[in-house]
């Protein structure tokens, strides 16, 4: 870029030399100046806290009083903490319920919505509205819909002569309710990503298949799904990562209850850190979460690299 710039600028070689030098120095200076707000923010607000959190995870760090270095004690305690294993189990239950439901529903909706039919935009809008609604509002409204006596759902059931259960106060039902409401909240997002992928599939593939007499089902499984599989895989990983960080809807709908049946990892971290003020233990828990997420993120990166290559 520099040389290209300098050719028409200065036919004289001597000035060209000095210009190039000052240009580089200038580029270094302005470059760093331009990125400095972000870079400083990064060091002070991300890198620093990350290292401090790592150190804190090796300490007993109360709200008041001295922090004490205890080495790996927190991590040892975590692996012997029955509540921790319960919480990890709940988190994976949440992911295992949410991810397949979300992906299948999003894919189904995308297949229905990608066709150009009159009025189809209305449906797309309706399904997308919850995505931009506040999670807290969404959770509050669903908590109300699932309320035992006054809830809309139990009232509907009552019209059919069924006495509805106390959904969010039943340890067996609370988690499924949270999963379903979470799926409905975010399914529109994956749907939009899938629609974008479906629109990229070359039309001539379908034309060729039709000439060969392939049925719609066959076209779906042999053209559509293979063609959009990179997006499906990537979206699945992103949805898994997101689901491991679930918090807001749990906080509003169940507070981790009943009987700890919906207490998930982030909720447990929050509770230990900001309710019990056990900062050391909570930091160690946070690093366990970090490690789990890291595994899925590395998977995603590995895959994205291949995917980008595949696209080129």
């Amino acid at each position: 870029m520099e040389s290209k710039l300098n050719v028409p600028l200065s036919p004289d070689k001597r000035t060209s030399g000095t210009r190039k030098k000052s240009f580089n120095r200038e580029a270094n200076l302005t470059g760093w100046l331009f990125v400095s707000p972000m870079a400083i923010g990064f060091v002070v607000l991300l890198l620093g806290p990350l290292l401090l959190a790592l150190y804190m995870s090796f300490t007993d760090w109360p709200l008041l009083g001295e922090a004490e270095f205890i080495g790996l004690e927190n991590y040892r305690a975590i692996f012997q903490d029955a509540e921790f294993w319960r919480v990890v189990g709940n988190t994976f239950t949440f992911s295992a319920g949410l991810v397949p439901l979300n992906i299948v529903l999003a894919l189904g909706l995308a297949l229905l919505l990608v066709r150009k039919l009159p009025g189809i935009g209305i449906f797309r809008t309706a399904i997308f509205v919850p995505v931009m609604t506040s999670l807290i509002v969404w959770a509050i409204v669903w908590k109300y819909l699932f309320a035992t006596d006054t809830g809309f759902i139990n009232q509907i059931l009552q019209m059919f002569g069924i006495t509805g259960p106390s959904w969010l106060y039943n340890p067996k039902l609370a988690m499924p309710v949270v999963i379903v409401t979470s799926v409905l909240k975010n399914v529109g997002l994956n749907m939009v990503l899938f629609i974008a992928a479906l629109q990229q599939v070359p039309v001539h593939l379908y034309e060729a298949a039709r000439i060969d007499g392939a049925s719609r089902t066959r076209q779906l499984f042999q053209i559509t799904i293979p063609m959009i599989s990179p997006t499906v895989f990537l979206t699945t990983l992103l949805t898994i990562i997101g689901s491991l960080k679930v918090f807001g809807q749990i906080y509003v709908m169940t507070q981790g209850g009943p009987d700890n049946s919906t207490k998930v990892l982030v909720y447990y971290i929050w509770e230990r850190a900001f309710k019990n003020f056990e900062f050391g233990y909570a930091s160690a828990l946070a690093f366990v979460l970090f490690f789990i997420i890291l595994v899925f993120t590395l998977l995603q990166w590995q895959f994205r690299k291949r995917w980008v290559f595949h696209e080129e």
Partner: protein, 285 residues
């Protein structure tokens, strides 16, 4: 042959009918919470328990709204949410676009390494850094202020994501434009500010919507950093309503309507941009 074609057409119509039915059902499922929220927000408190449920309230009670406004500092929640989201958005767009421009176009030493390091830290869960950040803010006396709610997102994962988005966009702008300006003796700042930034309007619009919505809906940080009612943002205040008023659903629903409606209205006018903006969330994590 002819009847066969008719059969095909009937089947096609049936298929399209099924299409609409399936879409209608799921759309209704998405809209019921909003409709029920609106309906309850207009009901007499006694009517909430009526069986069978009334979808359209027989008498409308607007006091549900005025009572919330009178009994809680609702205007403050609103104002807090709004001005924080605006500052976060302006800050993010400004700093992310400056850095994004440098990463795309200024060949400075260490550029690629710095960019990669920035990008890789996006995966650090916020929960990890929030604990030391809480202690840091406490040390600075900034607990129960809006400073952490404004500063952390601008320079956190959201801001870094913004850098990535802006860089991608600037990489796509032809170099010739800049080169011409440089020959004319324009400084880098002038080039960024008067040439590149105006060209980046689509990227800025997308980033603006994404950042604004993320900030407007943010819950975890306000929960950690804010204690006083007057300082709360809408999501935090609403989440505490459930405990405070117990089963006063008519008030809770009118508050929810007030918190949701303005954004929904904006959404209906700029759907395409909103969907693009929010879809970026899917790419962020």
């Amino acid at each position: 042959m002819k009847s066969n074609r008719h059969g095909l057409q009937a089947g096609k119509l049936l298929g399209i009918g099924g299409h609409y039915v399936a879409l209608g059902a799921i759309s209704l499922l998405m809209l019921v919470p909003f409709l029920w929220m609106l309906s309850t927000s207009l009901k007499e408190p006694a009517k909430i328990f009526v069986f069978p449920p009334e979808f359209i309230p027989s008498s409308i009670r607007l006091e549900n709204y005025t009572e919330v406004l009178a009994n809680t500092p609702f205007h403050l929640f609103y104002w807090n949410s709004l001005y924080i989201a605006i500052l976060v958005t302006v800050g993010t767009v400004l700093f992310a676009s400056i850095a994004g421009y440098a990463f795309a176009r200024i060949p400075f030493r260490g550029r690629n390494i710095v960019f990669l390091v920035l990008l890789s830290t996006m995966m650090i869960p916020h929960e990890v850094t929030s604990i030391p950040m809480f202690l840091f803010m406490r040390m600075l006396g900034l607990i129960n202020t809006h400073v952490p709610l404004i500063v952390l997102p601008i320079f956190g994962a959201g801001g870094i994501f913004g850098v990535f988005v802006m860089r991608q966009f600037f990489l796509g702008i032809p170099k010739e434009l800049e080169e011409a300006a440089m020959i004319d003796g324009c400084s880098r700042w002038r080039i960024y500010w008067s040439i590149m930034l105006p060209l980046a309007k689509p990227a800025i619009a997308t980033l603006t919507i994404f950042t604004f919505l993320t900030s407007w809906n943010e819950f975890y940080d306000p929960l950690i950093f804010i204690n006083d009612r007057e300082m709360m943002t809408l999501p935090l205040a609403l989440s505490l309503f459930t405990d405070e008023v117990g089963t006063a659903w008519h008030h809770l629903m009118s508050a929810s309507v007030m918190a949701t409606l303005p954004l929904l209205i904006v959404f209906f006018f700029a759907q395409k941009q909103f969907i693009e903006g929010v879809s970026m969330t899917g790419l962020k994590d």
